[in-house]
Symmetry: C2
């Protein structure tokens, strides 16, 4: 498995990046579906270099700051990533803490639960706004003549994100309505 290394190869397959870049992109661009901290990224990059999946592409030296070490994917890395990509994937369990709490709604007063659903709705409305904007950007810079444009894949994934956020918002609204009716009794 080792998950993180394929997430890193995924980013390196598009452009050479430093460990710091990888961390940043995971927590923004890939934000909806993957995350990582520096603790994972740097040691993993070193291992990947040892195994010939990535190599040091350039080192930008800034005074009074650690050298910026940019890595590029190797042909072996690309092949390994392709091999993994076309391999079947195990079904996933979505581990959503808030759903677990929703499952406990019956235990608590509607008045205590309503604010939590309203918060969640707003949180997902914000995410929806971010993904929608991202989607617009991607569609604008997309090269419509190139059927191999990486952005086509990006768009599909962000579209998933948009639909997911819409679903979450709709669900929150439905539950809020139910709780309000219950409260009225």
């Amino acid at each position: 498995m080792s998950s993180i290394r394929y997430a890193m190869l995924t980013l390196l397959a598009r452009e050479p990046l430093s460990g710091y870049d990888i961390k940043q992109q995971m927590n923004s661009r890939m934000g909806p579906f993957w995350k990582a901290g520096s603790n994972q990224v740097y040691p993993e990059l070193a291992k990947m270099e040892e195994e010939g999946l990535a190599l040091l592409h350039s080192v930008e030296q800034n005074d009074h700051r650690p050298a910026r070490k940019v890595y590029a994917i190797t042909e072996r890395g690309r092949q390994e990533l392709i091999r993994w990509t076309i391999e079947p994937t195990e079904p996933e369990t979505m581990k959503d803490e808030f759903l677990l709490k929703a499952y406990n709604s019956w235990l608590v007063e509607s008045a205590d639960m309503l604010p939590r659903f309203e918060e969640k709705q707003k949180e997902h409305e914000k995410k929806l706004a971010v993904y929608s904007e991202k989607l617009n950007e991607l569609n604008q810079i997309l090269d419509p003549l190139n059927p191999r444009d990486p952005l086509l894949s990006s768009i599909s994934v962000v579209e998933f994100g948009v639909e997911y956020e819409k679903l979450y918002i709709k669900w929150c609204q439905q539950v809020i309505e139910k709780l309000r009716k219950q409260e009225a009794n």
Copy 2:
């Protein structure tokens, strides 16, 4: 955090259960959003008893088999679960390996990727069938006169599951169409 203990309290709040029951229910009833193995359940149950969140309710002795130890939630456990339930929840990242692979579609031949999307679609169609049936069952045994029926909460969560599966299926279909058009060129 310690996640698992609240998932276990969530189940114990509805009825007394053995460690084995908890494990089973997590991988079926709660399947969509939580999971656990025996390694976690048994030691955690012991800790919860020590801390007074659960207590040994009864022991059913069967010959040639380990005694079935049934635990019940205590008032302290219930209060702790309620406290956690009405507490705000941090935003979650959905870590879906298949979305990561979809993000790499541009790297591979459509012919290699299409079967993976078709598989995923079928997988989620099966899950949808299971959740839909579950939803029917729940609606039938629900007591419509009791606004505190735990099943109301169950229904909300299963409804989320149903909508999620529908979304996943629709998304797979869209991507499949795109890949087919691309292949035709």
